[in-house]
Structures are given as C-alpha cells and as structure tokens.
C-alpha cells in the first residue's frame, strides 16, 4: 500500500518537474544564443537602439522598434476588445445567465478562440485592410492599427469567457442582499460584481494580453513589416514575434543572435506582465 503510494508520489514529482525543466531549458538556450548580440551591443543599448541595419560591415541591431510595435499592438488590441468582451461577460454571466441566448453567445464567442490565426490574417488582409483604406485611416491599409483591430477580435473570447465564469460564480445571496437594500442593477454591477469578481476578470485580461503579445502570423500579414520606429498608430511597423518570423529563415551570425535576443526579451516581457498582473490581483484581494 505505502509502496504504491510512494510510486505514485514519484510519478507526480517527475511530471511536476518536467515543466520547470523545459522552461529553464528554453531560457538557457535562448540566453546562450543571444549572448553574442548582448555582448556586441550591450544589453541596454540593444533594448534602446532603434537601428536595424543589415549592411555588412555596419551591422547594427536594436530591439526598440519591435518592442514598441509589440506593446502598441497589444495595448491597442486590449483597448478595442474591452467594449465587446465586458458586455458579453455581463450578458452571459449576469443579465441573461442560463438562457438559450446566453448559451449561443457563449458558444460563438468560444468559437472565435478556435479559429486558426492564419484565417484571421486572411480576413484582416482581404476584408479589414481595404476597409481601413476606404475609411481614409491610412493609405496603404497595413499597419499597427489594422493589426490591433484583428488582434482585438482574436482576444475577445479569452477575456469574455473567463470573465463571464467569474461573474457567474458570485454567490447570489450577495447580489440579493444588495437588491433588497434597494440597489439598481447598475449599482449591483458596480458595487458587488466588479469588486467581488474583479481579480478574476483582471486575470482573464492578463491571459488575453499574453495571447496578443505572442501572436505572430496574423500580425505579420497585417502590420506592414517595416523596421523603422512607428511614427503613429496608423503607420507600418513590426512586432517582436513578426520580425523573428520574417527574418529567421535566412539569418546567421550576429543577426541570428539578435533575433534570438528579441525572442528572449519577448519571453521576459510576457513573464513580467504576468507577474505584475498576479501581484495586482493579490493586492486587490487583500484589500
């Protein structure tokens, strides 16, 4: 009996250790291959340089335009997704909870998460891009704005579904208490639902940000892929993920190392945002 239990424990330990091991291995190999770029340009210089110059002899690589592109597309996408994901969450989690309509809406929203990113890319390219040109937002149609709009649609299911679950989980006696005190529905949402489910909703959006940060295919098809610093939100640009996807194939030497260094930075940025989100949630729930 104890022997069996011990065996089970060992299996648990092994499987539990595999994940940190893989994660550590990825970081280690990224660091080793990125080392050349960091030693050549300096860690902070690499991050804050906006030069991306291939010319042999004057090779100089910096990550700033791509970090800017990644952060801009991600936070614009988050901004665009808010007015859709939050109402969907309230619709499904509160107003029409348990109705057929809510079930349909929930399924359709979840369906969005299952669409491959290349399909989003094609839709953005053939439908949204001409629309952006037609509306006169930009001449060429591709750019940070177009990429962010499609990203927003892509991250809605992550933000909406999870938020709805957290809103559903609020004990009904809390809400009923508020109603019996004469609170209106809007007041219940503001005073009860958001404070109670707030940390859950917040974590849903962190998940959505994580998805937007790393999205590669869709962004590459829509952002215009220019390596200069973006001058406005309708300008073309490049994200960290898309420059890697574009340039990795024929890269070697210093350029390859710089691309891997960008990969490492993306890893850190994603981890940092997740960490900051977790700390904020903790602080909110303590209060």
């Amino acid at each position: 009996m104890t022997f069996k239990q011990d065996k089970f424990k060992i299996v648990l330990w092994i499987t539990a250790l595999v994940i940190p091991f893989i994660c550590g291995g990825i970081i280690l190999s990224l660091m080793m291959d990125a080392n050349l770029a960091f030693t050549k340009f300096g860690f902070f210089k690499f991050i804050f340089s906006d030069q991306w110059n291939y010319t042999p002899g004057h090779e100089s690589y910096g990550a700033l335009p791509f970090i800017t592109g990644t952060l801009l597309t991600t936070f614009l996408a988050l901004l665009f997704c808010l007015p859709f994901s939050l109402p969907v969450a309230l619709f499904n989690g509160e107003y029409y909870k348990g109705t057929k309509m809510a079930a349909i809406l929930g399924t359709v929203t979840d369906l969005l998460a299952g669409i491959p990113s290349i399909i989003y890319g094609l839709w953005g390219f053939y439908v949204l891009r001409p629309l952006v040109v037609m509306l006169g937002l930009s001449e060429q149609g591709s750019g940070i704005l177009t990429a962010a709009l499609v990203l927003a649609v892509m991250i809605i299911p992550y933000a909406a579904s999870l938020s709805a679950e957290f809103i559903k989980m609020i004990p009904s006696d809390l809400k009923e208490g508020a109603y019996s005190l004469g609170a209106t529905r809007a007041e219940v949402i503001r005073r009860v639902i958001f404070p109670v489910a707030g940390s859950g909703i917040f974590s849903a959006y962190i998940l959505a940000i994580g998805r937007a940060l790393g999205e590669t295919m869709t962004v590459t098809m829509l952002i215009g892929n220019t390596n200069q610093m973006p001058q406005s939100i309708v300008a073309t640009g490049n994200t960290m993920a898309s420059i890697i996807a574009n340039q990795f194939g024929e890269a070697d030497g210093l350029k390859l190392s710089s691309l891997i260094a960008i990969g490492l930075l993306l890893f850190f940025i994603t981890a940092l945002i997740n960490l900051a989100g977790k700390m904020l949630i903790k602080r909110a729930s303590v209060q």
Binding site: D33, Y54, T55, F125, G224, N225, T226, E250, D252
Partner: protein, 351 residues
C-alpha cells in the same frame, strides 16, 4: 542554427536509415541528396523526378534557402548545394575547391496595380527613385516622359518589398546598386535591405497579394511566380536603351554576354541586346574533388551525370514550361567544360 543543424542531421539519419532498409538488394544505384535555394525548387523537383525515371537514381532536394544549402555543403552532409548566389572569393577560400554549374535562369519583375493601366514602362533610375522615396506620385513628370500617351493618375506610389530574407531581394537590390551609385552607398544590396519607404510582405505570394489589394502599389516579384500567376508587370529599359518585357527569351538573353569561365557572375543590368535587366542565374555547387566524407565512386559519378542531365536539352526545355528560362548556349558549353574538371581521387569522371 545549431538547432537547425541538429534537426537536419537527425532527419538525414532517419532518411539514410530508411533508404538502407528499403534498398537492400539493389546496392548499385546511388542516391543523391542536395539542399539549398527555394527559387528553383519546382524545377528541380520535376527534373529530379524525370531523372529518376530515366536512370533509377533517386535525388532528394530540400528547399532550405541558399545559405542553408551552402552550410550543408560545408558540413559535407549533402552531395550538392543549390544557391541563388555564387560563392564570393572569401567564401571560396573557406572550403575545398568547388565547381559552380548554372542550371536555369529567372528574373525579378516589377508588378504594379494602377486601375486601367496595363502597359507601364520604367527605367532603372525611375525604379531606384521610386524605391528610395524620391518619386512619390504616379503622375510625376519623369514617369509621364517615359510613358507618353498613358494616363497616369494623381495617386501616391506605395512601394512593396520583401519582409523576409530572400534571393529575390538580393537580385533586385544588386540591380539598383548597379544603376545607382547613391543606392549602393546608402542602402546597398543583400538578402535583406532596409528600404526607406513602403511596406513589406512575406514571400512572393505576400508581395503579390499586397499589390493585388493596394491601388497604386508597385513591388518586385520572382518571375517564376509572376508568370505562373498572370500578374501585371512593367516593361523595363535595359542598358542598350531598349524597353524589354520580361519573358523566357529576354531573360536568357541577359546571360548571353561575357561570362567568366567559372560562371560566377551577377547578370543584372546586362549590356547584351534584347536582355531584360533584372535577370539571375541559379547554381548547383559541388566539390571539385568528389571523394569526401566516405562517398563512393558511384555517388560521384551519379552527381556528375545528374549535372550533365541538367544541362541537357530535355531539362533545359522543361524550364520554360515551369516558368523559368533556359541557359544560353554559351553558358551550357562553358559548364560542360567545367564538368570535366570534377574528379574522384584525382581522376576525372567525365571525358
């Protein structure tokens, strides 16, 4: 890169194990493997298949990019490398002596989209100025001067270029560097170049798609893709002053001029008559001494025979049906001569 190498070697190991188990009783037929440029991939696939039908020798080719092909040859894990760029002198010094055999030709065409205009003419300096942001409107006086009678619209020009490292970019920017010293000094040539204006898309399909979707755009595309997809492209002025449409004849004409004995030449901005100015060759690169990394004489013979076949009439005729261009006779004769210099243990394989 290291990882790539590892993956590749594992794959090669798997392939060689498979082949070992599959051809136990017909040991005599050699198998060849090559890797490199993606540009001639469709042509190589067809030709190698036909070659196998004829001789029984199986040839596999991985389209991993010219750079990767040369790396594999350097590591001596392939029988030949395909490359859109010949090895430069300093690169040649790093490995044992090699032979370049050209296999077919292609070009880079300038595709554009302007409503109602099907016949646009451009000169080298105009192309340079469009891609460096000096000519920004379609109704620019200089564009009008080259296109008399064409109603060019008052519309902004949107240049489109490749976002990924590519031999097509290398050929195109090599041409720009030849026609404009200023371009050469400021932006240079290579597989990736920092274009000052416009937007970029991935691969020939990406650039073609962006142009098809964007009114007023112009971009460069590999001819093998443009011909197959019926894309509208411009007529270009060559060094002789003639306006030439890219087709199999005008592309082949570009290599008809002077060629060095080892065929290592970029034929952009050719001064030959009737030549399309942005044409290119693609090569198969092999070691001059074929006895390396434990290769046997059958493999060496098969390699030379394959190259001989690729220069032959049947293979060269196939280039046209697959939207490439055949080599001119002069290049073929030169290559036959170069084939004779390939040896196994110091003995020539072909007399």
């Amino acid at each position: 890169m290291k990882m790539k190498k590892k993956v590749l070697s594992v794959a090669l190991l798997a392939v060689s194990l498979l082949s070992l188990s599959s051809c136990g009783n017909k040991q005599k037929t050699a198998e060849l493997s090559g890797a490199g440029a993606t540009f001639p991939l469709p042509y190589y696939n067809e030709s190698f298949k036909a070659y196998q039908r004829e001789t029984g020798v199986k040839v596999s080719y991985g389209g991993i990019g010219s750079g990767g092909g040369v790396r594999n040859l350097t590591d001596q894990i392939v029988d030949f490398a395909g490359s859109d760029a010949f090895l430069k002198d300093d690169e040649m010094k790093k490995l044992p002596e090699v032979v370049h055999i050209p296999t077919c030709m292609g070009a880079v065409v300038l595709a554009y989209k302007i409503k109602g205009i099907k016949d646009l003419k451009l000169s080298g300096s105009l192309v340079t100025d469009i891609f460096s942001g000096k000519v920004t409107m379609w109704n620019d006086a200089r564009l009008k001067a080259v296109n008399p009678g064409v109603n060019l619209p008052n519309m902004k020009i949107v240049p489109v270029y490749r976002s990924d490292g590519s031999g097509t970019t290398n050929v195109f920017t090599d041409y720009l560097s030849k026609v404009s010293p200023e371009w050469k000094a400021k932006y240079g040539s290579g597989k990736s170049v920092n274009f000052p204006v416009g937007q970029a898309a991935k691969g020939n399909p990406g650039v073609a798609g962006t142009i098809g979707q964007t009114e007023g755009s112009i971009g460069y595309i590999g001819s093998e893709y443009a011909f197959a997809q019926n894309i509208t492209y411009a007529t270009l002025q060559n060094k002789q002053g003639e306006f030439v449409k890219p087709d199999t004849k005008s592309i082949s004409a570009a290599a008809a001029g002077d060629m060095p004995a080892d065929t290592r030449i970029m034929i952009t901005n050719s001064d030959a008559k009737g030549a399309y100015p942005i044409a290119c060759l693609t090569w198969i690169i092999v070691y001059k001494e074929q006895s390396y990394a434990g290769r046997n004489i059958q493999q060496a013979e098969a390699t030379v025979n394959l190259l001989n076949y690729m220069l032959g009439k049947e293979a060269q005729a196939r280039t046209i049906s697959l939207h490439y261009a055949p080599l001119p006779q002069s290049a073929i004769e030169m290559s036959y001569k170069n084939l004779k210099t390939i040896t196994y243990d110091g003995k020539t394989l072909r007399k």
